[in-house]
């Protein structure tokens, strides 16, 4: 177990180091000067030169790389060129939307998908199974932004139950803030739930075909008890894998949904930073996301150990 953690940590550090080089190099190569973008087309060369100096862009590449990396090691992710505030602060603002949104979507999708997966696996081949699986196929096929637009049309414009988008901030009150997250989290959760329920169903069906299930049934355990006690836990490995991937996606890959609902999340921060050539923001946020995904994977790995004791002894 200790060995496992040490190995994983070393891997994580190596991954982060490689990622930092790649991210920094990629943004060095991309054309476009932050100072030019900030000052626009009428700026004098003099003003641009002054701004480049202010931003520290005139220093040699290696010096900038190492000062960035050493800053990050100490928890200083630099200062945004365009917003002139520390990247930490920017990300902290955005996390207050992206994290609750991701957790809420994940919760909705899990609460829907696991029972649906269980139910359909237990009644394989029934009319309900076929119907639900057809629905989930549609759920996977529908792009989430289109589904989001449908939700907006019916719930926000037609019924006027919830706002069509925007985020008033947690200062406006938890209820009001949560209300503005209902539509986006539904739009994100339902396609994910469709995927997750199919995975749950097929993982369960696979374990239900195993010998030990037959043994459990043979010793007189009811069908229901077999599924709950023996099959479900063994079917959790692929489900956990997908959950980990989905959480990473929900945290960082929700830019389209953020656009549809004009939410100030992490995805839009990165997108804006790229178009404004706010390189330090792009670099630092990408590194934070890399670190988050490594941590999520680590948690998923630990969860494997929890559901499958056999893995604990493999070192």
């Amino acid at each position: 177990m200790i060995l496992f953690l040490i190995r994983k940590t070393l891997w994580a550090v190596a991954t982060l180091a490689v990622a930092s080089v790649l991210v920094f190099a990629a943004l060095e190569i991309v054309p476009g000067d932050p100072a030019e973008v900030m000052l626009g087309i009428n700026a004098t060369d003099e003003a641009i030169a002054a701004l480049r100096e202010d931003l520290g862009l005139n220093k040699p590449v290696l010096e900038r790389y190492f000062s960035w990396v050493f800053g990050m090691v100490q928890g200083d992710f630099g200062k945004s060129y365009t917003y002139s505030v520390p990247v930490n602060e920017l990300v902290a603002d955005r996390i207050t939307i992206s994290l609750p949104l991701a957790l809420l979507s994940l919760a909705i999708s899990t609460v829907i998908a696991i029972p649906v997966g269980l139910y359909t696996a237990a009644r394989r081949g029934s009319l309900a199974d076929t119907g639900i699986m057809a629905l989930s196929q549609i759920g996977i096929a529908i792009p989430n932004f289109w589904f989001a637009l449908l939700l907006v049309y019916f719930l926000a414009i037609w019924l006027q139950l919830v706002p069509a988008g925007g985020f008033p901030g947690w200062d406006a009150g938890v209820a009001i803030a949560l209300k503005s997250l209902i539509l986006p989290s539904l739009a994100l959760a339902l396609p994910q739930a469709a995927i997750l329920s199919r995975i749950t169903r097929s993982a369960l069906l696979e374990t239900l075909g195993e010998d030990y299930i037959r043994t459990a049934r043979a010793k007189g355990l009811s069908r229901r008890a077999t599924i709950w006690k023996h099959a479900l836990r063994n079917a959790m490995i692929p489900v956990l894998t997908i959950l980990g991937l989905q959480f990473a996606y929900l945290l960082a890959g929700t830019i389209i949904i953020e656009n549809v609902f004009y939410l100030p999340g992490l995805g839009r921060l990165v997108f804006q930073a790229i178009s404004l050539r706010d390189l330090i923001v792009v670099e630092s946020v990408v590194m934070m996301l890399v670190a988050t995904i490594i941590i999520i994977n680590l948690i998923v790995d630990l969860a494997y150990l929890w559901v499958d004791p056999r893995l604990r002894h493999r070192g």
Binding site: E46, Y83, D93, F167, V260, P264, G265, R277
Partner: protein
Amino acid sequence: MGTLKKLFAAAVVTTAIAPVMLAGAALAAKTSLVMGMALEPPHLDPTAGAPAAIDEVVYANVFEGLTRIGSKGEVLPALAQSWDISADGKTYTFKLRQGVKYHDGSDFNAEDVKFSLDRARAEGSTNAQKALFAGIDSVSVSDPNTVVVQLKSPAGNFLFNMGWGDAVIVAAETAEGNKANPVGTGPFKFGSWVKGSSVNLVKNNDYWGTPVALEKATFQFISDPAASLSAMLAGDVDAFANFPAPETVPQLQADPRFEVVIGSTEGETILSTNNTKPPFNDVRVRRAIAHAIDRQAIIDGAMFGQGTPIGTHFAPHHPAYVNLVERYPMDLEAAKKLLAEAGHPNGFKATLKLPPPTYARRGGEIVAAQLRKIGIDLEIIPVEWGVWVPEVFKAKDYDLTIVSHTEPMDIGIYSREGYYFNYASDAFNSTIEKLNVTTGESDRYALMAEAQKIIAEDAVNGFMFQLAKTGVWNAKINGLWENSPVQANDLTGVSWSD
């Protein structure tokens, strides 16, 4: 069970009544406004950045300059209540308004004017429009309410230039913090900024001038055009001064809740041409292109019919505008003949670099299709602004590109040395020089007309259309601008009618 039922009933009644009560409260005193904007400003200091979004939040609302540009493009007094211009046109004496306070409570005086103008033109200045201040020789304070600005040479548009957002007056103590916490003299104070989402302004009760009707103004940033429509329809946003989804305008026009006002901007949208790069260095080639462009088709196809055809680089709503659209009527035969004379009977290949805005991307495809009819085969290269600026604008590495030049009264760029059109005309330059030293209105207009004709004659660029300003707002809102002579959302005259 019974209590549970009662609770449930109570909950239903409350949820049903609450919106009604809220609506009632809103009707009684609507003094807040939510204005939608497509882009969020990167910061809120108009003296340290080019993005129009900065001015669209703070201009005239939070910050004021010596002069102010009104809704028709006229120069109005602001912090300067009056001015005298010396006979040689080089000395401007500004009489400043008294009793003006900044939002932090400190007093405004002549030293602030000197500080602001000197800061903008200083060596290490990062002002995005530093050229506006290049003509200033010195700024001196003669008493706390009088500032004298000495120019190097007469500049007919100096008062207009002082009305730009880049020329607003700031206090030395707060200037550095204006990016995150703008402190100005305007009728609104900065309230809060939910990054990525909205900026809130609140009424300044100590304002020196006419108090504003609104207690609170929110600028909500919505970058997705479809989301803008939803926000408008759901009532989350009260107004869009520049509505980003022109294709949905007919739907909004049909809805009695909304008013749709299509006005004009200062954005001359042109097919910018590299005038020194063969074959575009031949005026016959450029004229051939001018004959081959069907402006109305571009406006209809790319802008859903919103826009005014132009034949030169000048805003059609300006009194000095000369309609030169018919100088090169759509005529493919004439275009082919000109190309043949220039030695390209079968046309040629070239590139067309397109920045992200819709007018460029959609318009570019239509232009390429139109030029193909006369044998000019354009390769379309989409580029981001971050690439367009260094490649096209700075290095002039391009054949053709499409850009809307949104600065007001910017025909002078054609006389700028090394500007990306690579155009140089002695006749044009001397006209602009004369214009710069002329102050009489009718003389100025005559020179402006001459300048417009010269660039049209030389077919410097493919002049396409004036960008429209599509305003959509709640029909009960009064006082929003129809046109945008400057990039601003001036809310000083805005009120709700009930």
